[in-house]
Amino acid sequence: MTNTKHNLTSCLLRLVVAGGGVLLFSSQAAFASEASGVTNAAAPGGLLEAALFYFVALVAVVSSLGVCFSKDIVRMAVWLFGALGSVAVMYFLLAANFLGAIQLIVYAGGTLILLVFGVMLTSKSPWVKFECPKIEMLFAGIICAALLGCLCIVLTDATWAGTMQVVPGASVEAIGKILITKYLVPFEVAGVLLMIVMVGAAHLARQDD
């Protein structure tokens, strides 16, 4: 361990990033609960489900910390899989089956694979250390601090009233309807963004020809 201090800062930075990630997921969860028609009416939770939830939450937290504190990019990816997968399980617990499955496909099966793939393609040695210049760290720190602030605001402002009731079976159609009515513009914007990304990637890939 040659540069412990440096590692500490970068770890803190990653902690903040992970906080941002949790924010993202919680926003997704909010969307999910709306989409799956979960109301705040009282409903039996079940001891088993509660235990499972706490276990999954623990896994999510531990793996997020693992993402922050591991030094090797591929191990980070594995920890990240733990975080993403446990969020998927949470979706299933919330009866947001569609979101859970999509979480698995898009994040665990897609993004993460691409991440590891990129590391493999570009790395010089099998074990790559994650390191970046200080100026980048500064910017990233500012952004992450802002995100953390947002997270805190959400945490304090949210109404955590009551338990939730599950309405199974409605989620897919509900999501479909919401996506092409209420959230049509963001949906289309995301589509256009992805299109731009694809064109850009194709452009980058063809440049050396």
């Binding site: 039996p44 079940g46 001891l47 088993l48 090797d72 591929v74 191990r75 594995v78 899989f81 997968g85 998927a88 009866a95 089956n97 569609f98 859970g100 499955a101 999509i102 979480q103 698995l104 496909i105 665990a108 099966g109 897609g110 993460l112 694979i113 691409l114 590891v116 793939f117 493999m120 393609l121 099998p126 074990w127 599950v166 199974p168 079976g169 989620s171 897919v172």
Partner: protein, 528 residues
């Protein structure tokens, strides 16, 4: 920690000899059982096979009767108490429905006959079945059993089929009849092999990777229905759930390749990632065809939509679905890394790809996962396009048989039951094996070309076409109804031709098996 280990060690010192004595006693017993069982299996193989199938059917049927009866009891009791139950018996159901043995006894009395006479014992036997956890344990047992048996016997079958394709016999020795215990024997050998972790490998990841591979493929069985009620968890999004967990399997392969600290392994991993990420898109597109046609992601409902017999299977519903099925099958080959898409483990290029450094049980985990995934994609193909657990006869014909216990059995065998689902899966597995032992492997650029330039536009087009087709079918136009009907019967006729051609060709090959190889082979080659 050290004290714990010491305690464990002392425990072993005390109980170890006893355990070893028990094992020593068990060992000759097991050997004797095997020696006795082997010849019996060898002599009565056909009968044992048939009786095993019958026993499985009877077991499944009894299990369904049992669960169904308890469900009915719960509903009836609830109805008599004036409570309406909805959402029924899924995993969000409460831990208990509060059924007492006496209530069950009342229900049993109503059934009458043998059930009424047995009600004194049966009420207590049936009582635990109402608990979700008990059902889950039973289901999990069945699931793990399936997950173990399917890959083991798929491997055996692949070796047999490969042998026949290559004019040899395949496994013949172990266990007697056609090497029936070859795969279990291999499994035991693999268990006993050294679990080797190369120097310089990332040991934790190296150990972890096989689980990333095998757990998702086991998870896929959770949502894969074998019959109308034979599913561990009937998810409303079963289709994308299975797609999602199979997608996670890639991560195991990539970690295996990465953690091995071997360049060939890394190549295997990179190819796997490349291939999977690209082929998931056409695979998903092709999966959407039945979804668009039936309007649901629930596999059970998709199958229910095809209960009208041969010509109502989704593969014959439109020309787009017909081509989409072929595209799906090709993409599923790629997603299972089966030949000709077996690039991640291409033995002539990458030694063994991501498997290069693996040995023993970890190695076999990958194979378990691969063969289980093969079965899952074949099952998906059967469910989505080939009518799932329905036989070619319309299920409505079976409805006339009534609901008696024997009628249920006949319906399960003739009209719709897990037997049909397994049969279809086995046929598709056979096609996969057949393709593997016939075709050369394609190159990575050709793999990607086939995906991006051929399959992706094709499946997109098919999806578009299906959408238009479905939209047109909603209209009341009579001409269009005629067009769909004619299409259905024409495509169904083509399918029927294939369905008859396969056994016909197989029968021809069987009866001319000596002539096809040539006289010289018969005289000159051993084993002929």
């Amino acid at each position: 920690m050290r004290i714990l280990l010491w305690k464990l060690w002392m425990g072993y010192r005390i109980f170890g000899p006893i355990i070893e004595l028990l094992m020593a006693m068990f060992r000759p017993f097991a050997v004797a059982m095997y020696r006795m069982g082997g010849p019996i299996v060898a002599q009565m193989a056909g009968m044992i096979l048939i009786s095993a199938v019958v026993a499985v059917c009877v077991g499944v049927w009894a299990h369904a009767m049992l669960f169904g009866f308890v469900d009915e009891s719960i509903l009836a009791t609830a109805a008599s108490a004036g409570v309406e139950l909805t959402g029924a018996f899924s995993y969000v159901s409460p831990a208990t429905w509060g059924l007492t043995p006496s209530q069950i006894a009342v229900q049993l009395q109503q059934v009458g006959g043998v059930a009424a006479n047995m009600s004194g014992v049966a009420q207590y036997l049936l009582w635990p079945v109402q608990f979700g956890i008990v059902r889950d344990l039973v289901g999990l047992g069945a699931l793990m059993g399936l997950f173990n048996i399917i890959p083991v016997y798929t491997i055996w079958w692949e070796r047999k089929v490969a042998g026949r394709i290559q004019s040899r016999l395949g496994p013949m020795r172990v266990g007697g009849w056609h090497g029936w215990s070859q795969s279990p024997a291999d499994g035991i050998k693999l268990l006993l092999k050294e679990d080797l972790i190369p120097d310089g490998a990332d040991a934790p990841l190296f150990r972890l990777a096989p689980y990333f591979n095998i757990i998702p493929s086991a998870l896929a069985f959770v949502a894969l229905p074998f019959g109308a009620t034979y599913v561990f968890r009937e998810l409303d999004v079963a289709l994308i759930f299975i797609l999602g967990v199979l997608g996670v399997e890639v991560l195991g392969v990539m970690l295996a390749g990465w953690a091995s600290n071997n360049k060939w392994s890394v190549y295997g991993a990179m190819r796997e990632a490349c291939q999977m990420v690209s082929y998931e898109i056409p695979l998903g597109m092709a999966l959407l065809l039945p979804v668009v046609t039936t309007g649901t992601l629930n596999l059970t409902k998709i199958v229910d939509a095809q209960s009208g017999g041969w010509f109502h299977w989704l593969v014959f519903s439109s020309p787009f679905a017909f081509i989409g099925f072929i595209a799906f099958f090709v993409a599923s080959l790629a997603s299972c890394k089966r030949a000709p898409f077996d690039l991640p483990e291409a033995e002539s290029e990458l030694v063994a790809g991501f498997l290069t450094e693996y040995s023993g049980i970890r190695w076999s985990f990958f194979f378990f996962a691969e063969y289980a995934a093969m079965f899952v994609v074949c099952g998906l193909a059967a469910i989505l396009f080939l009518g799932g657990w329905h036989s070619p006869l319309p299920a409505s014909w079976g409805a006339a048989l009534g609901d008696a216990w024997y009628a249920r059995g006949v319906k399960g065998l003739l009209f719709s039951g897990p037997v049909w689902f397994v049969a279809k899966c086995v046929f598709l597995l056979y096609v996969q094996i057949w393709i593997r032992w016939t075709l050369p492997r394609i190159r990575i650029d050709q793999v990607l070309y086939a995906c991006v330039q051929v399959l992706l536009p094709l499946t997109m087009l098919m999806l578009l076409g299906t959408t238009v087709w479905v939209w047109a079918s909603t209209s009341e136009c009579e001409t269009w109804a005629m067009v769909t009907a004619i299409t259905r019967y024409v495509l169904g006729g083509i399918g029927l031709m294939f369905a008859f051609a396969f056994p016909a060709i197989a029968a021809y090959g069987f009866y001319h098996r000596r002539a096809m190889v040539g006289n010289l082979v018969q005289d000159a080659m051993p084993g002929s």
